[in-house]
Symmetry: C2
Subunit: 455 residues, 2 copies
């Protein structure tokens, strides 16, 4: 094969001390360091050494106490993403900084401001993973009795995003003059007030932070449901998604890319990056041994709890070595719908017991698991990348720091050798790395007013 | 005088590019760097070189457009404090990191979590300046038509603080075991759920961050009104306050310290740190020249705007070289009440015009201005410190980076020579620097339940 000119994008999805639910028990996993900045600094610098496009942090607003033993057996505490990414901005130079912040329990003014600030402090490396909150435990921490219905969460998310991007456009890029002589700090004609009044939010603006270095921080989305896909097609620049098979991933890829044109967007304007959980060995045998060890380390109740949370259905009353019970219909699930379907189908297709299913998902959590030597790992990434299933991958190391170091030291060089991945950063911002356009300020268009969400 | 054993506490209140409204026009002020992390890193490292107890950041959630020329003539954009302090945590080792976050437009779960995270990432250097929002422009950015009445803001603030400290106590200090062998990450009996249901908030908990390194991040308050003083006496560990005269400061000091006993607290449990705006010259003449230059650089509309905002009353319709108009009664002011009274009294006492008054406050903004040689500056700090008016000071450099560098290089050595300030950090956390006790987890008390806000 000749060298590819198209190169894959890579995110380092840092779930500490690893994505596998038993990661903290794995030899070498630094379980006691999950709140220590030095640990994250080392991870970030490893990712940067590996020329990753970005670090990626998930988030949640609760500790589930439903399964008491699971509280004892799993890692339930971690740094908050905005604080952690801001700290890492100061000790890295190139790698993007992507953080998850929910639209369900936040205010758009705060979110716009924090990401704008992070984008400035990092010289243009911020990304916002826009999610809705589907966990009933979270509602109880925000003055609610229950969480919003799926469809309402998406309505709110869409308006939230409009407000945030509108606030990022408060100042034109060249609004600041710094003209000491003429007492002109800013050109007041380049300040725009949003005056948003919608169904969910009333936000006047303007924002008290200059337009972000990247215009907008990169917008990432994870939802793969119907409203999720539509919102992504209109507004997302990266989709982080979960697929087990090449065919599913190809279908999703062509489905979402096909929706872009109606919003005046090109296929390159949206990068699709499925999650991948790689178990790397110097030999295939070593990789299999690691996998077996990880499975063996899963505390039973932690496994049941994780699976119950992923499918939004409590499996603890059922025999762990029996099959899944009859599950509710999809329309009665007010959690992550795509994940529910994916796991239910997997259990049926392969006739798995509860234990077998949680062992399967205790690492990748519904994402694609790949296993083998560095060459085999690279083969599996290359296959999806070259066959219309992915523009890149969000890499989910099973255990940290080892899983990331192995990927950087063993797999990245193999991808580089094949011309599939950069050998040096060529730009300075995350948009540069991802080959995404910088959003033009609406004032540059003739009829700028239509681009604001003035209701 | 023999060397004092009691030493003053110093905060570096960083308003960039300086506290004076014309700071950005001052020679050497780095006006274009107000969103650049390198600039703040230099400031933070300068403060740390000067052995400051902490950096201090104010905050606000709006750009006032009422005075169009003022938007053009003043600095209206700055980084958001939580992101900036987190970034600075990664490039400093000792200095405390104090950020302002309002209780009026935030959720306690988010605030508890971000400060807990910052406290871990900084190894115990976080402080929260607890404020209420009194600016009508801010309400419009958070789905409100107008801001809360003064008394309601304090009710909400008090409950907010209860929830936040309750969430910080979610995990006992020794809740985490990291016991790989026995699959025991945490001791589930050391997890406490808040179950708060109050007038303003319903927050179940627990928090998904371990108990902060400092137990609680240091609690700072700024309000000096009657409810502000009472809340501070019950809960604050530092008060940042504004007084012009020694007598006022002494009265406030003894008033607040006298309120502590009824909450079972000692005078040392609360440090009173008035703001001080120092204009430093190698000679007194040079200091006076700097002051004159700063006044000369104030754009007129920016001065009127600043003053109007500080007293919550629009002065723009009145002749700038005439006296203050008749102002409303104090009970009709729904803004900062203490500031209103202070400035009104100052104008009356000294018979000042609007211009003279804004020139007087364009730097210190109601705080104490001191001027002179390093020795004269030290004399003025020492006087208040030794006469029952202050436990330390929040230093407000007129222009940056110069104003902070002069304080560190010229005034700090003078204070050290007099035994009034540390020559080295002797502890590692901000509580160590401030000589504040680490809050004991309520579970250590016999009747722990009473310490939780269970309604």
């Amino acid at each position: 094969m000749s060298k590819s000119t198209r190169q894959m994008k890579l995110g380092a999805f840092l779930m500490t001390p690893g994505h596998h639910v038993a990661a903290w028990r794995f030899p070498g996993a630094e379980a006691s360091e999950v709140l220590n900045l030095k640990f994250y600094k080392k991870l970030a610098q490893t990712a940067e050494r590996g020329k990753f496009d970005m670090l990626f942090l998930a988030d949640g607003y609760s500790v589930s106490e439903k399964y008491a033993e699971a509280v004892a057996q799993t890692v339930t505490v971690r740094p908050e993403p905005i604080t952690l990414l801001s700290a890492l901005a100061a000790v890295t130079d190139h790698v993007g900084l992507a953080g998850t912040v929910s639209t369900t329990y936040n205010e758009p003014y705060h979110v716009a401001r924090k990401f704008a600030s992070l984008d400035h402090l990092s010289s243009g490396r911020a990304a916002w993973n826009v999610v809705t909150s589907a966990n009933p435990d979270e509602a109880l921490n925000f003055n609610k009795e229950s969480h919003l219905l799926h469809s309402l969460r998406y309505e709110r998310a869409e308006e939230f995003l409009n407000v945030v991007t509108g606030l990022w456009d408060s100042w034109e890029d060249d609004a600041f003059l710094f003209d000491k002589e003429n007492a002109a700090f800013a050109d007041k004609n380049k300040l725009h007030t949003l005056h948003h009044k919608g169904e969910w939010f009333s936000v006047k603006g303007p924002l008290n932070v200059a337009r972000p270095v990247q215009g907008y921080p990169v917008i990432i989305q994870a939802g793969s449901s119907e409203p999720g896909k539509e919102l992504a097609a209109r507004t997302a620049e990266v989709i982080f998604t979960a697929w087990q098979t090449l065919e599913e991933a190809q279908n999703f890829y062509s489905d979402v890319k096909g929706r872009l044109a109606k919003y005046g967007r090109s296929p390159e304007d949206l990068k699709i990056m499925p999650g991948v959980f790689p178990i790397i060995g110097r030999t295939e045998e070593e990789a299999k041994e690691k996998k077996a060890l990880l499975e063996q380390l899963i505390p039973e109740e932690a496994g049941i709890s994780l699976l119950s949370q992923l499918i939004s259905f409590d499996l603890s009353p059922y025999p762990v070595d029996g099959p899944l019970p009859d599950l509710p219909e999809l329309d009665q699930i007010n959690g992550g719908k795509t994940r529910f379907t994916l796991l239910k189908d997997l259990a049926e297709r392969e006739n798995l017991t509860i234990r077998q299913l949680y062992e399967r998902i205790a690492g990748a959590r519904g994402h694609r698991e790949i296993l083998g030597t560095p060459e085999q790992i690279a083969d599996q990434l290359e296959e999806w990348f070259l066959s219309g299933a992915a523009d890149g991958f969000n890499i989910m190391p099973p255990y940290l720091p080892g899983g990331l170091e192995e990927f950087v030291d063993l797999v990245v060089p193999e991808l580089q050798k094949r011309g599939l991945f950069r050998t040096e950063y060529t730009g300075t911002t995350l948009r540069d790395h991802l080959e995404l356009k910088r959003p033009v300020h609406p004032a540059a268009f003739e009829d700028a007013a239509v681009l604001y969400s003035v209701n």
